[in-house]
């Protein structure tokens, strides 16, 4: 992930998010982009496609038909 973001890329992300920022807010957001990029880099590890998360469904007795 690049440590800098172009004005065009930032405008694209903001348009997609639906946030309407002032030029000063855009400039400030651009100035901290490297911080987010650094965090994203830290959580990426070589772990392979099989290292997927589990999702836990909290089934209730009613879901399982055990309430009848």
């Amino acid at each position: 992930m690049a440590a800098e973001i172009s004005d065009e890329a930032l405008d694209f992300l903001l348009a997609r998010s639906g946030l309407a920022l002032t030029p000063a807010q855009k400039a400030e957001l651009k100035s901290v982009y490297a911080g987010i990029a650094g965090m994203a880099e830290r959580v990426r590890k070589p772990r392979g496609h099989m290292a997927e998360l589990a999702h836990v469904y909290d089934f209730t007795p009613a879901d399982l038909g055990e309430d009848r």
Binding site: I5, L13, L14, R16, S17, G18, L19, A20, L21, Q25, E28, L29, V32, Y33, G35, I36, G38, M39, A40, R42, V43, R44, K45, R47, A51, E52, L53, D58
Partner: protein
């Protein structure tokens, strides 16, 4: 203990023995509110009439032999992101200035059921985020040890109110340290319980998978008494745990001889260097635990920066999703600090979020392995004494990793307790971390430390 302000445990014994009137106790808290809160700004809304009515009802019940338990007649405060039926709940925001909920949050309901007396709603950072803001309807809370200084947040009002004796206990919420931070800087005890132990229903979300609700009080024992009333399954909260609820005070006073305490030195010596006073406080705490018979060992985890990155990406994304609609339509109605936090959501991709969730699982497994031969882990709770309130960085999440966020990422229970006072006269703190649902052990160790040290004998000078 300071005679004028009892702990919950002390007050409970006196009330049970009919030697302390809940009405007089409540009146004393309200007197301190009137005397001090114009300087502390710990409350955003007082419920004085309701408090006196609840206190009178508690007194009548106790006198008639109907005492409910140790919280009956105890004055408390609720953070202003906790829904309270018929009482304004603004989340510290212009957006919810006129919000009056139709129902109580589960935690508010449980404390009321236990017989507590609600003094009022305590100051919070806006939607439990951002930091001390001066562009909100109400000013930020100030530290009772020195009102020029920050309380930490976001449970800032509860921290200040407990330390100054405006209440005996209160509710905080913790997404990255918002119970333990104010507990540390205000010199009180505050526990973030295991994820799911206390229901989040009716509490405004910050980041759903990191959000915890918990008690803040003068001592660990008081937190245990409050947690007893708060813990338990709740069908209104899909993350609610179904574990059996133990007696949280059962192990208090049983000593800590033979318990194994792991110290994560690299957190405060390498990853995020603490002040000299904090380092000395940690070393002195280790010596105290050793004198009490605990075995001290070294523990090691991934650098704090890894935990911070993981927790921040999750937090930024979940918060942006929770407040997406208002961010799009009313961004300018948030404080400048929260606007900045919400803006960050645009920079985190869906893939970044899932990679953070995958990293979280690895970090959690790492903590589980590190704690396998230990009973608790000890870390710093804060980098030093409270900073000046006008000197809190806007982008602190990029500047300095947090000592508390690892245990939101992992869901493990963690408590902050006072470990002395620094050169500036402000409190210092340590953080103790337990295994999931092992809060009784955490209270046992924290209580042993508090009783072996003199730090619970001193209240802020402005209270005198």
């Amino acid at each position: 203990m300071t005679a004028a302000i009892p702990t919950i445990a002390e007050a409970a014994k006196l009330i049970a023995a009919k030697q302390l009137s809940p009405v007089e106790l409540t009146q004393a808290c309200l007197d301190r509110v009137r005397k001090l809160d114009n300087r502390l700004c710990a409350f955003v809304h007082l419920t004085e009439k309701r408090a006196l009515a609840e206190a009178r009802a508690a007194e009548a019940a106790v006198m008639a032999g109907g005492r409910k338990g140790p919280l009956h007649g105890i004055p408390i405060g609720l953070k202003d992101i906790v829904d309270t039926k018929g009482i304004p709940t603004t989340c510290g925001s212009k957006i919810l200035q006129d919000n009056i909920p139709d129902d109580d949050a589960t935690c508010a309901e449980k404390l009321a059921h236990a017989g507590t007396v609600l003094i009022g709603k305590t100051t919070t950072h806006e939607f439990a985020d951002g930091g001390p803001s001066f562009d909100l309807p109400k000013p930020p809370a100030r530290n009772p040890w020195n009102t020029d200084h920050f309380t930490a947040g976001s449970s800032s009002g509860t921290g200040a109110a407990v330390a100054a004796g405006l209440v005996l206990g209160g509710i905080g919420t913790d997404t990255g340290g918002s119970i333990r931070g104010p507990a540390a800087l205000c010199g009180i005890a505050g526990i973030k319980p295991t994820y799911g132990l206390v229901s989040r229903a009716g509490v405004a979300p910050a980041a759903f998978s990191l959000d915890h609700i918990g008690p803040m009080a003068w001592t660990a024992e008081d937190c245990a008494l409050m947690l007893q009333a708060l813990a338990g399954p709740d069908p209104r909260d899909p993350a609610s745990a179904t574990q059996p609820i133990p007696d949280y005070t059962a192990l208090l006073g049983s000593g800590i001889k033979g318990l194994k305490i792991g110290v994560i030195h690299h957190f405060h010596e390498t990853d995020c260097k603490v002040s000299e006073g904090t380092r000395r406080g940690i070393d002195a705490a280790i010596a105290t635990f050793r004198e009490l018979g605990a075995e001290i060992r070294e523990a090691q985890l991934s650098p704090l920066q890894d935990w911070q990155a993981c927790g921040s990406l999750i937090s930024i994304t979940e918060r942006a999703a929770a407040y997406d609609e208002w961010a799009k339509t009313r961004l300018g109605d948030f404080s400048g600090r929260v606007q900045r936090r919400l803006m960050l959501g645009a920079l985190v991709s869906g893939v970044d979020y899932v990679q953070a969730l995958r990293r979280r699982r690895e970090l959690r497994a790492e903590l589980q392995a590190a704690m396998s031969g230990l009973d608790v882990v000890l870390t710093a709770a804060a980098p030093g004494e409270a900073p000046k309130i006008d000197n809190v960085p806007i982008w602190d999440l990029f500047e300095r990793p947090s000592f508390t966020i690892p245990f939101n990422v992992s869901g493990y229970p963690a408590i902050s307790i006072c470990s002395g006072y620094g050169e500036g006269g402000l409190p210092l703190a340590i953080q103790l971390v337990g295994k999931p649902f092992q809060e009784p052990t955490l209270f046992r160790v924290a209580d042993a430390f508090e009783k072996a040290t003199p730090f619970r004998n001193t209240r802020p000078a402005l209270v005198a």
